[in-house]
Symmetry: C2
Subunit: 215 residues, 2 copies
Amino acid sequence: MTGQVRTVDGRVAGRRGQATRQKLLDCLSEMLSSSPYRDVKVIDVARKAGTSPATFYQYFPDVEGAVLEIAEQVATEGAALTELLEGRSWTGKAGWQTAQELVDGFLEFWRKNDAILRVVDLGAAEGDKRFYKLRMKILNSVNNSLADAVAELQAKGRVDKDVNPAAIAGSLVAMLAAVASHQKGFSSWGVKQAELKPNLALLVHLGVTGRKPTK
Amino acid sequence: MTGQVRTVDGRVAGRRGQATRQKLLDCLSEMLSSSPYRDVKVIDVARKAGTSPATFYQYFPDVEGAVLEIAEQVATEGAALTELLEGRSWTGKAGWQTAQELVDGFLEFWRKNDAILRVVDLGAAEGDKRFYKLRMKILNSVNNSLADAVAELQAKGRVDKDVNPAAIAGSLVAMLAAVASHQKGFSSWGVKQAELKPNLALLVHLGVTGRKPTK
DNA sequence: TCGGTAAGCTGACGTCATGACAGGACAAGT
DNA sequence: ACTTGTCCTGTCATGACGTCAGCTTACCGA
């Protein structure tokens, strides 16, 4: 399934080559964290990796191509987010805890990968299919689980019929992602990190179940 | 208050100059809509405006500087969003209508300015103070009004005391903005525009009042 | 009508990133 | 040591960046 790693001109990459390739990806990751996406240049990434620009172009068509690669790796890690929701209950006190843990886990994941996720978000918003497929892939696990939870409650008659589970789930996930991206904005608004989380959890709980949590 | 428009080298811009300046801004706006931010070059903007790159640099330090200018204009328009909430009620059927109209108005505003707002969002997420101040300025009207609404209901005892109005308002606004940016993502998820809005309104209503709307 | 002055624009230039190629360096097997 | 295929880089043409001096245009007072 995982096709061999190949250079742009078709050669298969060996041990050493893969190492350089990965080093370039790592350096690019770092650069994305420390400077605006618009200003990340191939030459800087190459310098940081202790190699030449030509080497970069041997492995990636351009910066965007390398970013997609990193995002792919993040997407794989992101699959683990399902565990935050797998087999959880949304009723009673357990429901409140589920919401809290989801918020916690999600924000943590976003914080750890904020630089790359920012770029994916931008690409997706700009309408680039590759990026928004990737964004879907990353958010899929959480999104599906949430939608399932809503649909299940709906089947039991505990949530109104005219609610669209996918729309609710998607909106909640978008909210989590957006808030995670702009945490600094909140703090300059007078809302502290610690205060933010329970309020987010409240919104998630309300959205999924339609009711206030019992704490 | 509104300082005169000046060129980079300090001259005051006259009628003709302001026209060129505005033309450059308009062309930049268009370019942002049609190509990725990363690929927008000064030379293209200048060409599109029927002028030379040097002229661009007479009015703006770089692309980013010009973007800030456009965003400033959008922020001014954004102040009108307050009207969506000014003097509205959040109780009974009126509450449901308030939520619907807010969602409608907000999405429309975002749709009309999506290109520039995307860039502002990116800049803010990257931690650039100028951008996230601008983002706050744009969202302030809605955010404050929402926070006030929550605080008011809270004072009446209709919302729990441990809710932080600013956090709730900020999260809801972030959600609206994020969903607006990624509407295409939803449709490829099987959620239609028309279905999305009422579900968003539901979430807003739930968030503000803590209760399901009466329709 | 006629300069004078400031605004407005651009050609040209040095600098730097891009992306391609050909060829040298290197490791591994024989 | 020799061959083979991988891996890296020097070099180059191209084109964007950002600056400057200098030309053109518009305005204004005499």
